[in-house]
């Protein structure tokens, strides 16, 4: 079976409950002999303790009729059984108190379906329930007082998207007791970051002094006597990581096993805030500056600050801790411009006055098999390097428009979401370079883009075999030719109890199918990682609406 890992529209989507909805795969099934019925049975055990799980809700559904769900609740022995099943393939999922929804032999959403029929093993299954983990803690300030309304961010180091990377998975505010609780976590390696401002902060106010002009008039001008009037409470908190680091590279990882409940208290410490002055062109009345900080080399976390225009042609940014930031200046005058500079902020520094660039605009059209794509679709340009994305909904006539004030120049994968059973087959552009399903954007340019999509997709069914015997639970990867520029063409699946799998919605083209027994920890979209497995893979060419059967050796 097929799957594109869908890049999330929301950065936080990984943290949200995922639907257990499954598409109906078209599998070959021989005529059903209704006289013969079969059984799926087994017991739910805690994957860590091995104890039977009481009150677990177990669901099965024939993959051909995923909406016809049968459920049962386990008793204290953890046992479940579903009788009188017709021959076929069934998805087996469940959840319980302290166990988020999961499938049988679940690997980040891929799981092993159970096939029933003559000679098939579908009884006495051991459904190992992976208990949820959680991280909790309290945020305190330099005086040991708890900090309410601090923003707590949780990052997870994982490979679900194909390469090892650190993803933000949750974000929460501390409560009135300074506490936070991040529940329903998968096992893995996590980092906690906290962003807050001291509640008592005294932001510098503009002062003016009177000067007598040459014609004898008195005028108020902004005064420069900053240091003199600086309050000891003009302070800020740097973004702080568990356990006290202020640089993400020094954050302490928290390793969670299934069922762990880890405490991660974070102590904030106020430091004198810096003042950043940015010269502006006086004719630009509407000017704004946003600060963000790069964490884990990738995420751009907005940093709260205070800005004001003292009236001397400068924009002043206050209330920010010293450190490395990206400063984005936007002006909304006659011509909208924007510029971003990476700066190391120190006290009382001035930023150079350099001209901003106008926003990058992308005008595009999406066609689906020659017709304008429906307005349900979302276009997303996703940067694997920065995790940044640009997205917009398709309007009438299949058109879309993206205006990015603060574009990070670089290469973006092109996706269109939410149009079922159709995928991007081609990208063309004027004003930007295109390779495969990627586009390389520069700042301040105007790009015309055409995205073609197709619903004329192929399907690859197969069986994973180990020593000529079907192998369940193997990771199946459909690797496109030129994988570097065709991230969107990858498909993955997990082989079911009879070793079968289905890769759906395959874009016509040349591929290699590989099966890896213990492959769930591999960076599966890195060509260098896949290379050792490619020789034993099955090569095939997929034509529009073609259906293929392959046998793949499990490595």
């Amino acid at each position: 079976m097929t799957m594109t890992i869908l890049r999330m529209l929301c950065a936080l989507a990984l943290a949200l409950p995922l639907s257990a909805q499954v598409n109906s795969p078209a599998i070959n099934s021989s005529p059903v002999n209704s006289a013969l019925t079969f059984r799926i049975s087994g017991a739910v055990v805690n994957a860590i303790t091995g104890q039977a799980v009481n009150q677990a809700e177990i669901e099965i559904a024939n993959v051909l009729m995923p909406e016809a769900v049968q459920t049962m609740t386990t008793g204290s022995d953890g046992r479940f059984h579903f009788d009188n099943l017709v021959r076929g393939k069934y998805q087996l999922t469940g959840h319980g108190r302290g166990f988020s929804p999961q499938g049988f032999d679940d690997h980040f959403g891929y799981f092993t379906a159970i096939v029933v029929g003559p000679g098939m093993e579908s009884e006495n299954l051991i459904f190992k329930f992976r208990p949820d983990a959680s991280i909790y803690g309290v945020v305190t300030d330099e005086a040991g007082e708890t900090v309410r309304n601090a923003q707590v961010m949780l990052f997870r180091q994982g490979i679900e998207t194909g390469q090892e990377e650190i993803l933000q998975v949750k974000q929460e505010m501390t409560n009135d007791q300074g506490r936070f609780l991040m529940g329903h976590l998968l096992p893995g390696t996590y980092f906690v970051a906290v962003s807050a401002q001291p509640w008592y902060v005294q932001v510098p106010q503009p002062h003016y002094r009177s000067v007598t002009t040459s014609d004898g008039k008195t005028q108020m001008v902004p005064s420069d006597d900053d240091e003199q009037n600086r309050s000891p409470l003009d302070v800020a908190y740097p973004i702080t990581y568990y356990s006290g680091a202020i640089d993400s590279s020094e954050a302490t990882p928290i390793t969670l096993k299934a069922g762990d409940r880890a405490e991660a208290d974070v102590g904030l410490s106020a430091v004198p805030a810096v003042h950043l002055r940015i010269p502006t062109n006086s004719d630009q009345e509407h000017i704004g500056a946003n600060l963000s900080q790069n964490v884990f080399g990738r995420y751009s976390i907005p940093v709260p600050g205070y800005t004001f225009q003292p009236g001397n042609g400068e924009l002043e940014v206050n209330g920010v801790a010293p450190g490395n930031y990206s400063v984005t200046m936007n002006s909304y005058g006659k011509q909208q411009t924007s510029r971003t500079e990476d700066v190391q902020l120190t006290d009382n520094m001035k930023m150079d006055a350099s001209q901003g660039t106008p926003p990058t605009t992308i005008d595009g059209i999406v066609s689906l098999d020659g017709q304008p794509a429906p307005t349900d679709g979302f276009v997303q340009l996703y940067s694997r390097a920065t995790h940044g994305n640009l997205s917009t909904q398709i309007s009438g006539k299949g058109e879309f428009k993206i205006a990015a004030d603060d574009l990070k120049a670089g290469t973006y994968d092109v996706y269109v979401f939410n149009i079922p059973h159709s995928v991007v087959t081609g990208v063309m552009a004027e004003g930007a370079d295109v390779a495969g399903k990627t586009i390389t954007l520069k700042k301040g340019t105007s790009v015309q883009m055409a995205i073609t999509m197709s619903a004329s997709l192929g399907q690859v069914d197969g069986v994973a075999q180990l020593k000529d015997k079907p192998k369940a639970g193997a990771m199946i990867v459909l690797v496109p030719n030129d994988p570097d520029v065709n991230a969107s063409l990858f498909r993955r699946d997990q082989s079911d109890s009879d070793g079968t799998f289905t890769l759906h919605d395959v874009v016509p083209g040349k591929y290699t199918v590989i099966a890896i027994a213990d492959g769930w920890d591999l960076e599966w979209d890195k060509p260098s990682v896949l290379k050792p497995y490619m020789n034993l893979g099955q090569k095939l060419e997929v034509n529009p609406k073609g259906k293929y059967q392959v046998k793949v050796p499990v490595q």
Binding site: L9, P17, R97, G109, F111, R148, G183, Q197, Q202, Q205
Partner: protein
Amino acid sequence: MYRKSFLPFGFCAQICAVCVLFVAVSRGKAMAQTAQISQGDYKLFGTVVNAITGEPIRRALVQIVVTQTFGVLSDSEGKFEFEGLPEGRLHVGVRKPGFFNESDIKAGPVIASGGLSFGPEGDGTKVGPDTPPLTLKLIPEGVIFGRIDTNGEPLEYISVKIFAIGIHEGGKYWEQRGETATDADGAFRASNLQPGTYYVMVGGMWNSVARIRPSAKEKEQGYGEVFYNNAEDMNGATPIEVSPGQQAETNFSLKPTSMFRVSGTINGLQGQGADLSFIGSSGVPARFPTHFNPINGQFETMVPGGAYTLEARGFNKDGSVLSANLPIRVNSDLSGIQLTLAPAISIPVDVRREDVAQARGTDLTINYYSGVDAAGHPYRGNFADASVVGLHLRPRTMSLQNQEITSSFRVNPGGQPQSQIANIEPGRYVVTFPLNSRWYVQSAQCGSVDLLHEDLTIATESQSPPIEIVLRNDPATLTGSISSESPEADAKVLVVPDGAATRTQVAYIHDGHFEMDGLAPGDYSVIALNTVQGLEYTNPEVIAPYLAHAQHVSLQGSQKSDVNVELVQVGKQ
């Protein structure tokens, strides 16, 4: 085998927009407690204390304004000091997360704590050679906390709303005072509550990106709204008294109820998007997982069974409001619901004046109207043209909280409605007319509704009959003096029409006297109270105990009458 990630769209994760500013309690080492101002030779010093326990409060922020704002944190004994101040008066403010200052309490719950609000109002604090130490009081916040479970299993993402009854212009209004949601342990905490009586409602889903099942064949269960303690609506809810610093526990055990799929289309979108809400018995929008496509207007959502008003609000390109609503009863899946956005209602207003021969005051060239606004402050207006009537609509419908409408209309000699109140959203409103010294409102009708005694209800997609106002130019005037041992700043005079307490008027007292123009002829009870804040004085039952101390007057048209009333302490009857 795989399962697909669900892609949220439309109402993508409703991120709770909360500012990152304010923090909390406990203690460490003393920080800076003296601020040097260098503008003079004087000091201002004092202590910050807990108003309830009298204990000093450390690390409270004390701020003063001398040409600019200076701030200092109190030390471990609650002490603070400003040096180098010029002689004169200045404003002093104090705050700390987890506490309210006296201004916060005085301003009432609508004003959020944490701003630069200053304690003693008026002229401020005197600074000079013999400035005495200052005691600044903070009132600890109340918290309502608890757990929500079902069969012992904690429920996450359940919305928790805190309600209270607010008193505005002597009338009672339900108000939402807070909102939070349960965490992974099923626990919630609603903080920042001023002392008062609260009601807690839980239910619905906070998390708008929950799954929507493709079909109702699968059972999907959710949680309908329920008030503490297991009441279906506000009237049956158990009140929770929260005193300063109190942490009140309220736990809920919810029974799951079937969720149904409700889908349809919002028509008439102007490309500006729209909000869709389900308003249940609480009168405030409930949150359910909703998919909404702002381009074609299609929506689908999962809601627990029950009666709702489905309300859509959008905006025209010019920013004016479009709305639609539809009462629905959900006890199975509903599809094909059509909501058509229409401009908000406009009501024609027709003002006529009935002049009588001996009208008084026609020689005046300037007229004032006066009244009391939502925050209890008096306001006065100057209508050079005597033929203008002010009209004030205060929504009783909770989803329209804080959307008050004030308009004024000219008397129309031709008898044809010429003006209108535009952009009124459907709902229930209390209509009041500020007093005017030249006339009084003899009658105010909207169709068959008597606006002097009844609420105005505006339905969607209906043509409202005009509001017909008849003024009469022989109002009576009441003046009086207050006898009291010690006059109090907040004291007010209530002028209660006999048998119609709902139309009670409030007069301000200046130097022990009051004056009220524009009264309709009739019989009145006149009461002086030390305060009317929080007093539901338009309720006859609430005002009844004070009537024994009232002066009774009978006013004829154009009559001037004078009374002497005794100041009564509220709550001591």
